[in-house]
């Protein structure tokens, strides 16, 4: 299994699309952080040096989660899109193991990527005198939560990819879900549902503000349950599928 996870990490590292996605994530995150810094002194802005300011700035990495999610999606759909699934299943006929390795590699990559994003935003904040460079328990807590969220989103991505094997559709579905469907819920009076949905659970796990938010641990369980359900449903289909 270790060899398979290492292979999947190698697969991610050696595809140019991975680096394009991650670079996009970094640019978006820094742009978001710059916007937070630009708002200092404005209405509703946090005070530079406060814990809230740090949380606001590091929260900019939330936008960087989308590339992490898409990395998970593409790690599965790319196999079908580029028809590499044939050689992949030839060298590892046990298809569940391949999917498990993809999930593990995606989770590892997600955790590493979010740490890198947090470090760049934190450095930016310190350079801009908006963050007190003290490394304290609060910073570790923020980092830990962000890593958990990133792991969940990577797993959700792999899950979506196994269920929706068409690459274009699989990339659009989660974007539409988080950016349109969940944000439109209040307009239809479905606020009560939101804490339980993937987006709401993500907000709760990340420590964001949401009415009726689940406790962090429950949000984590909910997110993992969503990811696992997708993986099992999609995995069963892939395990049975004829690779022609």
């Amino acid at each position: 299994m270790t060899a398979l996870v290492r292979t999947e990490l190698l697969r991610l590292r050696t595809a140019r699309s991975t680096w394009v996605l991650l670079a996009t994530g970094l640019v978006l995150t820094l742009a978001w952080a710059a916007a937070v810094l630009g708002n200092v002194g404005g209405i509703g802005a946090s005070v530079p040096g406060s814990d809230q300011m740090r949380a606001d700035l590091l929260g900019a990495t939330g936008i960087g989660l989308y590339p992490v999610l898409l990395l998970g999606v593409v790690s599965v759909t790319g196999e079908f899109h580029h028809r590499t699934v044939t050689p992949t299943f030839l060298v590892t006929p046990h298809r569940w193991r391949v999917l498990t390795a993809k999930a593990a590699a995606g989770a590892l990559a997600g955790a590493l990527v979010v740490v890198a994003l947090l470090a760049s935003v934190w450095t930016l904040g310190v350079l801009a005198n908006a963050i007190d460079p003290a490394v304290d328990a609060g910073l570790f807590a923020l980092t830990g939560r962000s890593m958990l969220v990133a792991v969940c989103w990577a797993l959700l991505g792999v899950g979506v990819g196994t269920v929706v094997r068409n690459q274009t559709v699989a990339v659009l579905v989660p974007l539409a879900w988080f950016l349109l469907i969940e944000t439109m819920m209040p307009a239809y009076g479905l606020d009560a549902l939101m804490p339980w949905l993937p987006g709401g659970a993500t907000t709760a796990l990340a420590g964001g503000r949401l009415a009726g938010a689940l406790p962090a641990w429950a949000a984590l369980v909910a997110l993992l349950a969503y990811a696992l359900t997708l993986l099992v449903v999609g995995g069963r289909a892939i395990a049975r599928r004829d690779i022609t």
Binding site: L4, R6, T14, R83, P87, V91
Partner: protein
């Protein structure tokens, strides 16, 4: 033990019967051609042997076990399949490193196979810019990674120029001479006849015939006889169970026999013969005779 054995294999895709009760064996140390017209079920059969397509019925075994149960299959079987692809943004060398990973094949071996298929110069180039011939070579490099005893190739000559075909034939022959086993599908028989020891011919998902190349061509051999008593000769041959037809007023064509059989029949019946010639077709013609509608069993 047989290298590859297929027994009662059936595959139904929806309402289409792609492979219909197919059985054949590939002996170790042979180069076997797997031939049939387009749509005969060659690719589906190979994919069932390799565990990629689930048979509706029957079994396909490699060295006595299903492919999925092989430990580190790349070390036992190498395969080049037609519709398998490459990530265009990955280099040739990285593509092979990814394939080598699960079987714990060292990177040194990756460089070795790259030079074996003459791609060392392109090792660090992205596959997206490769020609069809280069992709075929890279696919073959992937199959050779684990130095497997069995190679299964689906139409490997597509995209290769004549020099490339010759190169591939030499490479396959060399592996077989060293004790390896090769099963190679093709719809072009001419390039196969020069290299294959035996052939398995299928049509409409069913086995037409299998055996050594010489036996297949012998089965389709004919003897043409010119005689003023052609009609009587035809009757004599038919009485002996030989398929014979009249071709014009003074010629008889007997199929599936050699000149000895016909000569003896002529002598015993006391007939006059002006001319007799054996016509032993090339594998291509034998194949056509076996797979065109008149020649098929249905």
């Amino acid at each position: 033990m047989t290298a590859i054995s297929v027994h009662g294999l059936v595959k139904r895709f929806g309402g289409v019967l792609a492979v219909d009760d197919l059985s054949f064996e590939v002996q170790p140390g042979t180069l076997t051609g797997f031939v049939g017209p387009n749509g005969a079920g060659k690719t589906t059969t190979l994919r069932m042997i390799l565990g990629l397509v689930r048979p509706t019925a029957g079994t396909a075994l490699i060295g006595g076990v299903p492919y999925a149960r092989l430990d580190r299959p790349a070390r036992h079987v190498g395969a080049v399949l037609e519709s398998s692809g490459f990530h265009p943004g990955r280099t040739a060398r990285d593509h092979l490193r990814v394939l080598a990973g699960p079987s714990a094949i060292p990177t040194a071996r990756v460089d070795e196979v790259l030079s074996e298929v003459d791609l060392d110069g392109a090792a660090r180039r992205r596959v997206g810019g490769f020609s069809l011939g280069m992709r075929q070579r890279l696919g073959l490099a992937g199959a050779l990674l684990g130095d497997p005893g069995i190679l299964i190739l689906d139409e490997p000559t597509n995209g290769l120029d004549p020099a490339g075909v010759h190169w591939l034939r030499t490479l396959l022959r060399r592996r077989v001479d060293r004790g390896g086993t090769v099963l190679v599908s093709s719809h072009l028989l001419a390039e196969l006849a020069l290299a294959a020891d035996s052939v398995v011919i299928i049509k409409d998902g069913r086995l037409v015939t299998q055996g050594p190349v010489s036996a297949i061509t012998a089965g389709a051999a004919t003897v043409r006889v010119r005689s003023p008593q052609a009609d009587r000769l035809r009757a004599v041959l038919t009485a002996r169970g030989v398929a014979a037809t009249l071709d014009g007023p003074d010629q008889v064509v007997a199929s599936g026999v050699d000149t000895e059989v016909v000569g003896r029949a002529v002598a015993e019946a006391g007939l006059v013969v002006y001319e007799m010639s054996a016509q032993r077709p090339a594998l291509e013609e034998a194949f056509l005779a076996l797979t065109t509608d008149e020649g098929s069993r249905r």
